[in-house]
């Protein structure tokens, strides 16, 4: 941080208004208004909860090493998978991909000094630990144990823990909505002069699509869990069939949010991959407009497909048809993206950094998850596969193989910008192989286990193991591989902390990347841009000079900058 940097002013340009950085620990690091600090706060909170939620998952996996249930009671097991799902979805993935990445990267990429409403941004963050506290405190009351979806009527048996679950989700929903609103305004109004919509980096497009969904869908979830909360606490019959309520209603309201929620994780990952692949292929992204518009198409279609989660759950037969067709339609923009990324690889100069390995791994695992998604979109196949481990496998390929891989690609990519030091490539690449192998080993066998007849959320599977004797082997196999993933995340955490001190000094632009954040010092100063840059082109033309004016911000502090238009890339070893 460049505390106390004197603020030289171009007084005629209001953009150039720089206000002094805050002083004092609390204003600087705790209740900071700075989007970068808030991004760190999201990152470390998310990572911490990821460990907790990940250990829940490991307990779930350990339980399944024995058909009778190896380590805990059914009740405890149900609590574990409920907490794993809830915490991972709302307290890890959404805060990490929107809160951490979006907050740190997006304002830098559009050349802004901060988000539109910094105070709101701070409030959004501080709601997250509050929600986490509420959620984890429910464990004191026995914990919610009806699955992360908390369908009534079964969730109504959760009592106080269920009410706390609702309160936590409602609270975190407020945070997501506010972040979405904030990012929407920031992207619409605060782009640097000259940065038209089609000159925005693709990560910004992705953040925009995500913010739109965050803003609109999350409120529907708040309504669903709000009504559930009323039913828990005041016994108000929205979902109680005996008093005319409907359990299917909750499913409608819940999935109207929770289907877009999956895209809320995955679209920022698309954005990350769209940044990482061109940078390390030394090639412009192929089909910029197609990628940008397909993000928006996915965001809009996301609101029209929710009932595909409910094909066997009491949806009128004639309603199954439009939802099936619209779900298929989502395959088209997704396919366009994947093919565009592949085409970007073609003819490139591919550097195998950790980020790039994760991006390549993403292409493979996400495509797999996408294809099994097409299976589930088909009503007849879904009638067989619904509610089985096939769904668990599909979902984790999309979320762990898509969203988390994208996130893991982003960490080494932007870490040098955020801290001024490089992450260790050696540890990072080891981490990638652990994660990639662990992921496939854990989630691939789930597909056939599910089709063979293993329903999800099973605390024990004695009868299933009788019918399919292989099941025990495959479950133990999955458990073993799942620890590789856990080890990889542990390695990442170690790497992040170790490299803070011991990493190589990064310089302004270690990757030779071309978006705006790479034109300022690492870490960026409090005010990001001394002068607001001007943009006159797309960021991905590697053979041309950078399309920015006014980027001589840091020449005095970093003399090496400006000598080459595109700094020399770090020497990188092959990944294998």
């Amino acid at each position: 941080m460049h505390a106390g940097t004197s603020t030289t002013h171009d007084a005629h340009d209001v953009h150039d208004h720089i206000h002094p950085p805050p002083e004092g620990f609390v204003r600087k690091y705790v209740f900071s208004l700075d989007h970068k600090v808030i991004g760190f706060q999201y990152f470390f909170t998310g990572l911490l909860i990821m460990f907790i939620a990940g250990s829940f998952a490991e307990l779930v996996r350990l339980q399944l090493t024995d058909p009778k249930g190896a380590i805990m009671s059914h009740q405890a097991y149900n609590t574990m998978f409920t907490m794993h799902g809830t915490a991972m979805v709302w307290l890890v993935l959404i805060p990490l991909v929107t809160g951490a990445l979006g907050n740190f990267v997006m304002p830098l990429q559009i050349g802004a000094r901060d988000v539109a409403f910094p105070w709101l941004n701070m409030a959004s963050f501080w709601i997250l630990p509050l929600a986490a506290l509420i959620l984890f405190s429910s464990l004191l009351f026995g914990g919610p144990h009806a699955g992360w979806t908390e369908y009534p009527p079964i969730s109504l048996a959760d009592g106080t823990a269920g009410a706390l679950w609702c309160a936590a989700i409602f609270t975190i929903g407020i945070s997501s909505t506010m972040t979405g609103l904030n990012f929407m305004v920031t992207i619409m109004k605060m782009r640097a002069p000259g940065m038209t919509w089609t000159r925005m980096p693709l990560f910004v497009w992705a953040t925009f699509a995500t913010a739109l969904m965050n803003m609109i869908a999350t409120v529907a979830l708040s309504a669903a869990v709000g009504a559930l909360f009323l039913e828990h606490v005041f016994n108000v019959p929205f979902y109680d069939a005996a008093r005319g309520g409907s359990a299917v209603l909750y499913e409608h309201m819940f999935w109207f949010y929770s289907h877009p929620a999956v895209y809320i994780f995955i679209i920022p990952a698309f954005g990350v991959v769209s940044e990482v692949i061109p940078t390390f292929s030394r090639k412009p992204i192929f089909g910029y407009k197609m990628i940008a518009f397909s993000s928006m198409a996915i965001a809009i279609l996301a609101f029209t497909v929710w009932a595909h989660h409910m094909f066997p759950s009491g949806l009128a037969p004639w309603l199954q048809l439009p939802f099936m067709i619209l779900t298929y339609a989502i395959g088209i923009p997704t396919g366009i993206k994947i093919f565009s990324w592949m085409a970007t690889l073609w003819g490139g100069r591919i550097h195998f950094t950790t980020s790039m390995l994760y991006a390549l791994g993403f292409l493979i695992t996400f495509t797999f998850g996408g294809i099994t998604g097409v299976f589930l979109a088909s009503v007849p196949v879904d009638l067989h596969a619904h509610g089985t481990y096939f769904v668990v496998g599909h979902f984790h390929y999309v979320v762990a193989g898509g969203a988390v891989m994208g996130f893991l690609a982003a960490i080494p990519y932007w870490y040098p910008k955020a801290t001024g030091r490089m992450l260790s490539e050696r540890l990072g690449q080891l981490g990638f192989w652990l994660f990639f192998i662990g992921l496939n080993g854990t989630f691939l066998p789930m597909h056939w286990l599910g089709l063979e007849g293993m329903p999800r959320r099973y605390a024990s599977y004695v009868d299933f193991a009788k019918a399919v004797p292989d099941a025990v082997f495959w479950n133990q196999f999955e458990t073993a591989f799942s620890f590789l993933m856990m080890a990889s995340i542990g390695l990442l955490a170690f790497n992040v902390i170790w490299s803070l001190r011991h990493g190589k000094v990064a310089g302004i632009n270690p990757w030779g990347a071309r978006t705006l954040e790479w034109t300022i010092s690492s870490p960026p100063p409090y005010y990001n841009f001394k002068k607001v840059p001007e943009v006159y082109g797309r960021p991905y033309d590697f053979d041309k000079p950078l399309p920015y004016r006014n980027t001589d911000n840091e020449l005095d502090a970093f003399p090496e900058y400006g000598k080459t238009v595109m700094p020399t890339p770090q020497p990188v070893g092959a990944g294998v």
Partner: protein, 211 residues
């Protein structure tokens, strides 16, 4: 939400003094806040829409409406009183509109008058709702009709209550000179919010009392 932007402008006097073109800066912050406020209204609208969806879903899928509880069909809501009360709320929308118009034309006295009229009408509507709650013969817990009615109108009443408080604060601020004839974003936001609350009531009124 806008506090931070205010701080940017007003918190650091030394920096703010450097502005040559203060109005332009105001224009930009106003744009941000206005858009942000619109998005807030959008998300609030979706909150109401979700509960309205729940109500419509429950009503359409019910075998009889109003539902039967303990052997008795519940009564329909009393349309005539609600129509009167709605007109009170709609009237407050018009008075708020006049208040803002008068502010734009620097007519502070008329502004105060219309604003007080708005607040009085708003409180009148809340009292009407309280009366409605006391006479309506259904319970929150008893049926889906009661559940939807009390939840939705309760949420709306809460919004009206917040609106009344907000307008009162705006009135105090305006009289203390926080706003000028060219800078009055708070009043714009208050007016938009108040209109929004009115329009939500149009939906609730037609769905509960007219359908």
């Amino acid at each position: 939400m806008a506090a931070a932007a205010v701080q940017h402008l007003a918190g650091h006097e030394a920096v703010a003094a450097r502005y040559r073109d203060v109005d332009r800066a105001y224009g930009e912050t106003r744009d941000l806040r206005l858009l942000g406020f619109m998005f807030f209204l959008v998300s609030d609208c979706i909150l109401f829409s979700s509960f309205i969806f729940a109500y419509v879903y429950l009503r359409v899928s019910a075998p009889t409406w109003p539902p039967i509880v303990d052997g008795h069909q519940l009564p329909w809501f009393d349309t005539s009183f609600a129509a009167m009360n709605s007109v009170v709320l709609f009237g407050s929308g018009v008075t708020m509109h006049f208040a803002l118009e008068n502010w734009k034309h620097l007519n502070t006295r008329k502004f105060n008058g219309w604003l007080i009229a708005t607040i009085v009408l708003g409180i009148g509507f809340l009292l009407g709702q309280a009366h409605e709650y006391s006479v309506v013969n259904i319970s929150w817990q008893g049926s889906t009709m009661g559940a939807s009615f009390f939840t939705l109108t309760g949420m709306h009443g809460f919004h009206v209550f917040i609106g009344v408080c907000y307008l009162a604060i705006l009135g105090i601020q305006a009289n203390r000179g926080v706003y000028t004839s060219s800078k009055y974003f708070g009043l714009t936001a208050g007016t938009l919010y108040w209109h929004f609350v009115d329009v939500i009531w149009v939906a609730l009124f037609s769905l509960f009392y007219l359908w």
